[in-house]
């Protein structure tokens, strides 16, 4: 009876109920859509970063994560790579080197970040090879180098031209290596287009100390996005080696995770404010509806309705508004989220400045990724807030004296 009364009380003023539910639904739909864009963006950024700059699991020399000192290498990199491939045969395991230095041409020079990669394997997990706009991605040719198009412009070089990479690893003498430009890439990311270069890992190993040196052996599962992987099997596969450390992606890319976390918290704060505004609107609606029915409540109390049931009825009204608003919000958001999921938002030119991950080659079209569990939680929070908004009017009704309520006009 109490639930039936609550439903009919809402039904008796359909316009007010419809407006209130619409308000909640629109706010919910905005939150769902905004959250799905945020999810999609961060998933794309982090997945791209995991695949091109780290891995779901990485093996590096202890300290390299912090210092990025070129002499901190993992010796016998191929051995490590094979050990990890045996542990995770379904994953792609790649070796990488990262060297800072100077790239010179007959007409110019520029500081550069040279990444040594295994071309075929890297092409399977990274988007960098897809961004080659002139020439070709790396092959087994250890003399080839792929440059960002702006870097090439700075150096005044084109395909087939020779460039020299110079670097100094710790206290060693300056070393250099000659490359021939095999491809130019354009990512839209300033850091990559102006300062990045790629060559085979084998060619860069000549510049590093030790036996088969690499800076990173990365394990990547392209299909699992930003999921976390238990690193224990990798630790075990290292067979007690103390010259390596095994890290999950969130420790290999701590800044990125922190940035995603902070962004998430800021969003929650915004959603919280939005929820509060909606709750105040709801409070007003329920309070108005309670004030209008004082005499009716007086009648109910007069014929013996326990005040607790009156409270429950009003809380039900709040909850029903919350549920209807939440469901309405889900329905309203389906269209925009579907469109944003299938078509996506082309950040294009904005990417250079807005890319939160820095120098990562990623698809400039960001797609919404709705998270049903997140939406369910938000609907739940919405219902709780709606019930809380109804709590004060409900308390007001509970404290009514029947005789005073009956005299109410």
């Amino acid at each position: 009876m109490v639930l039936r009364l609550a439903v009919r009380n809402l039904w008796r003023n359909t316009r007010r109920t419809a407006l209130t539910v619409s308000g909640i639904a629109i706010a919910m739909a905005l939150m769902f859509t905004s959250m799905s864009i945020e999810n999609g963006t961060w998933n794309a950024v982090i997945s791209a970063a995991i695949q091109s700059s780290a891995g779901h699991v990485v093996v590096q020399a202890p300290g390299w994560q912090v210092d990025r000192d070129a002499e901190l290498v993992v010796a016998r990199g191929t051995e490590v790579q094979h050990a990890l491939a045996r542990v995770w045969p379904d994953a792609t395991v790649v070796r990488r080197t990262f060297l800072g230095g100077l790239l010179t041409s007959p007409t110019g020079s520029s500081s550069v970040s040279l990444e040594g990669v295994e071309p075929a394997l890297e092409a399977g997990i990274s988007l960098v090879d897809d961004r080659v706009v002139d020439g070709a991605w790396l092959s087994d040719d250890d003399r080839a180098i792929v440059l960002g198009d702006r870097l090439a412009s700075t150096l005044g070089v084109g395909l087939g031209d020779k460039v020299v990479f110079m670097t100094q690893v710790s206290g060693e003498d300056m070393q250099s290596r000659l490359y021939r430009v095999g491809g130019l890439l354009h990512t839209g990311v300033e850091m990559l287009d102006s300062f990045a270069a790629f060559a085979t890992v084998a060619s860069t190993q000549e510049l590093l100390p030790g036996d088969d040196p690499v800076h990173q052996v990365a394990v990547v599962w392209p299909a699992i996005g930003r999921s976390r992987v238990d690193i224990a099997p990798a630790v075990q596969a290292m067979d007690g080696r103390t010259d390596v450390e095994v890290l999950p992606w969130n420790r290999a890319l701590p800044m990125l995770e922190e940035q995603a976390r902070l962004d998430g918290q800021f969003s929650k704060l915004m959603y919280g404010f939005m929820g509060l505004i909606v709750a105040v609107g709801l409070l007003n609606t329920v309070l108005m509806s309670v004030m209008e029915r004082m005499k009716e409540f007086g009648v109910m109390l007069s014929v013996g309705m326990p005040p607790g049931k009156l409270t429950t009825m009003i809380l039900f009204e709040g909850a029903i508004l919350g549920v209807m608003g939440g469901v309405g919000g889900v329905l309203l958001s389906l269209g925009p989220m579907w469109w944003l999921h299938t078509r996506g938002l082309d950040y294009g030119e904005l990417m250079a400045d807005a890319n939160p991950a820095g120098a990562i080659a990623m698809d400039p079209v960001l797609r919404a990724q709705p998270d049903p569990s997140q939406m369910a939680v938000l609907v739940g929070i919405g219902v709780v807030m709606a019930v809380l908004a109804a709590a004060w009017p409900a308390r007001k009704a509970r404290l009514l004296q029947p005789i005073e309520a009956l005299r109410h006009h």
Binding site: M1, L5, W11, K295, E296, V299, V303, P306, P307, I403
Partner: protein, 232 residues
């Protein structure tokens, strides 16, 4: 033991600097099966007395006992139980719950009492039939005339089979024909079903119908007159 025993009942209202003595020491007994009315001019204390008997208002002095239970010793919750289980109310303005149909209004108190669905539906249907509303069970209050709404209010009051029905000006908003029909109806319920009624009224037709008239003046009983065979 009287159904209602009232001793030295006082009620004072304060409005700013003024105090109004609504009841100034009322003594009254009402037995089971009575069909009685409180009459008197506006402000004489009729409604106040009815509200205090119904546990809706609290006196400033004196005692009210219903079936031997002293209202002053009862908590608000216990008074709500008493209203739900032993008393029925009929108001001048009908006071039906607008979102419930006639039969849902009639069974409202039965729901609060926890009567099983089948039984309460049967009792509410019978109560509506008793007040002449068979066939109108599914109408909402705004689909009924004033007289029909008051009949629903009476059905709501009698369906739980209360010890006493308190009716405050039940015919005041009705035309004389409807008023007459309702008085006849309540008289029948009193005679055939033994329902005890206590009215607060100005209506001369109702005053003609009751067995006993208690006249209040300035919060005191000025006359308590019992008439054998009234309304016959």
């Amino acid at each position: 033991m009287a159904l209602i025993e009232i001793r030295g009942l006082r009620r004072v209202y304060t409005q700013g600097e003024f105090t109004i003595q609504a009841l100034a020491g009322v003594d009254l007994d009402l037995d089971k099966g009575e069909f009685a009315a409180l009459m008197g001019p506006s402000g004489s204390g009729k409604s106040t007395l009815l509200n205090i008997i119904g546990g809706l208002d609290e006196p400033d002095g004196g005692a009210v006992r219903i079936e031997g239970r002293d209202l002053a010793t009862m908590s608000a919750s216990a008074r709500a139980d008493l209203r739900r289980n032993r008393l029925g109310f009929v108001f001048q303005a009908y006071n039906l719950i607008p979102v419930l149909t006639a039969i849902e209004n009639a069974e409202f108190v039965l729901v609060l009492q926890g009567v099983p669905a089948d039984e309460r539906r049967a009792r509410a249907t019978k109560a509506l039939a008793d007040v002449g509303l068979a066939g109108l069970e599914n109408r909402l209050p705004n689909q009924l005339s004033g007289g029909q709404q008051q009949r629903v209010a009476i059905a709501r009051a009698i369906a739980p089979q209360p010890a006493l029905v308190l009716a405050d000006e039940p015919t005041a908003n009705l035309d004389s024909k409807t008023s007459h029909e309702l008085i006849e109806l309540m008289r029948t319920l009193n005679r055939e079903h033994g329902v005890t009624f206590l009215f607060a009224t100005h209506d001369p037709h109702l005053l003609d119908a009751v067995d006993r008239v208690v006249r209040l003046v300035d919060g005191s009983i000025a006359e308590d007159r019992t008439r054998a065979g009234a309304g016959a």
